[in-house]
């Protein structure tokens, strides 16, 4: 059931919940997934995102999100200047990303250590988003709930070990999905929770030997 503040809200920088607020949210999630200091970011805008991007401030919102500004942050208007101050290079490209939602963007982040991280997501209306790919691996989540994403070795028992940590801290898992490219490859788990996730919990999950990386998203 919707909260009354989904109806009267969110507070956001205009003009469009899908083209501005959703764009900021997508880039904020991308920034968390990347987790490293970003030196350069390339945005590949598809469909309606490409067509009306400037008139909706989609480009400022995307860049602002990469710099850590949320959808209600009025600095979004001046995010180009902030990017220069922070020393973050940026470029916008028009792209055909295939048979995807009209408001889809691919965000490619190059970090100061030379590593590259990629995310694809769509702004699906009302400021809500769906992430569909991280580093070319198909994945699905919305960022509506506190979300933990793991990269781990695809072996038996990992899901059970992770869920034991959740049970111990009495945090309920609302949704759990597992993704991999092929058997025995690196796999990913997306856990969306009903309650807040503590740093202790994240540390305990990181200590599981088969876990290569974890990302926590709470926006």
């Amino acid at each position: 059931m919707a909260s009354i503040f989904d109806i009267i809200g969110p507070v956001m920088v205009g003009p469009s919940s899908s083209h501005t607020a959703g764009a900021a949210k997508l880039a904020n999630i991308a920034r968390r997934i990347c987790g490293e200091k970003i030196r350069k970011v390339d945005f590949y805008l598809h469909g309606s995102f490409a067509e009306t991007c400037r008139g909706h401030g989609t480009n400022q919102a995307l860049l602002g999100g990469i710099l850590g500004m949320n959808a209600a942050d009025e600095r979004i208007r001046d995010s180009f200047e902030y990017a220069r101050d922070f020393g973050v290079e940026y470029d916008f490209h028009f792209a055909d990303l295939g048979d995807v939602h009209p408001n889809t963007v691919k965000i490619v982040m190059t970090c100061t250590d030379g590593s590259v991280c990629e995310m694809i997501g769509a702004s699906i209306g009302g400021g809500e988003v769906r992430i569909s790919s991280i580093n070319n691996t198909h994945i699905e989540f919305s960022g509506q709930y506190p979300t933990i994403i793991t990269v781990h070795q695809d072996k038996p028992g990992i899901v059970a070990q992770v869920s034991t940590v959740f049970a111990k801290h009495k945090v309920n898992i609302a949704f759990l999905k597992v993704f991999r490219q092929w058997r025995g490859s690196e796999a990913s788990m997306v856990l969306e929770t009903d309650e807040e996730v503590s740093q202790t919990m994240l540390d305990e999950i990181s200590l599981i030997p088969e876990i290569i990386k974890i990302v926590f998203i709470d926006i």
Binding site: I8, P10, V11, G14, P15, S16, G55
Partner: protein, 295 residues
């Protein structure tokens, strides 16, 4: 239990437990999300502060929207309106505030989506004008916003609040219904009368399409906020006069949803129909895209 998805259920809870509309809306929020009444009240106060700030900023005479199609209209109406203006002071003040918010929104200002950014002028326009012109208390205004939230929740639960899914009737229509119920509440209407105001307001805007010029949230969005604001106040007055909607609110919501499903995609935010396909709009869109690609 205070949960409702239909207006009929909302009214039953009010009448059985002898509660006002905002009480039931707050109690249902407490129950569903496990938050205290104080937290919920404070959050709505924050929303009102953002609304008031966006009115004030939007009334300043000289700023331009990102698309460049609107700006300055709120200031014009605000300096024109008086007790002598044709529509009277309250309606024109509410419309000026609604224009202010939509112009500020189009200039990347901070607003409250109520229920969406594209329809964000209507509810604040109505309640803030009533606060200024009729001296309702701060507490009454917050309660009026909860009434609007309850009406919006019924529409969200049974239809849609998205222009891309249901056309402008789902955005400005819904906002106008929410604002009508708020205004009727402030005018002293019973819960049942408030819902009547909402029914008449939504019914009056059924079939409204979403046809934004060049895909921007500017034309005709800003002035549709203006007319939907006046619509809300007129419907609240009709409800207070004892006029009822022949079609109950819940059925009007169902009709809105079905109309949205029958509506061509060309008329649902895609800028492929209506105002967006007029020669003037197409000419603008061509030069606008050209200038955007270059800059």
């Amino acid at each position: 239990m205070y949960q409702f998805s239909r207006a009929r259920e909302l009214l039953e809870i009010c009448e059985k437990q002898n509660l006002e509309l905002p009480d039931v809306v707050i109690l249902s929020e407490e129950e569903e999300w496990g938050r205290s009444r104080d937290m919920i009240w404070d959050e709505m106060e924050c929303k009102l502060r953002v609304m008031e700030n966006s009115v004030r900023k939007g009334l300043e005479p000289d700023f331009k929207s990102t698309g460049g199609l609107i700006g300055g209209n709120a200031a014009k109406l605000n300096s024109y309106l008086s007790y002598d203006s044709l529509g009277g002071k309250v309606i024109n003040q509410a419309v000026a505030y609604a224009l202010a918010i939509t112009e500020y929104n189009a200039a990347m200002g901070k607003i409250v989506a109520a229920p969406t950014a594209g329809s964000s002028g209507i509810l604040p326009g109505v309640v803030i004008a009533l606060k200024d012109e009729k001296q309702y208390s701060h507490e009454q205004i917050i309660n009026a916003l909860f009434v609007a939230g309850g009406i919006g929740k019924v529409i969200a639960s049974n239809a849609t609040l998205s222009g891309a899914a249901g056309g402008c009737q789902a955005e400005c229509g819904a906002a106008s219904a929410m604002a009508a119920a708020s205004a009727a509440y402030l005018g002293g209407a019973s819960p049942r009368r408030c819902v009547q105001a909402a029914a008449m307001a939504l019914k009056g805007l059924l079939g409204l399409v979403c046809d934004p010029v060049a895909g921007l949230v500017e034309v005709p969005c800003s002035k549709r906020n203006a007319t939907s604001t006046a619509n809300a106040i007129i419907c609240a007055d009709m409800a207070l006069a004892g006029i009822s909607s022949f079609i109950p609110f819940d059925e009007v919501v169902d009709a809105m949803f079905r109309i949205g499903n029958m509506m061509s995609d060309d008329l649902k935010e895609t800028a492929r129909g209506g105002c967006a396909m007029t020669p003037t709009a197409l000419e603008f869109a061509k030069t606008f895209r050209g200038s955007m690609m270059k800059s």
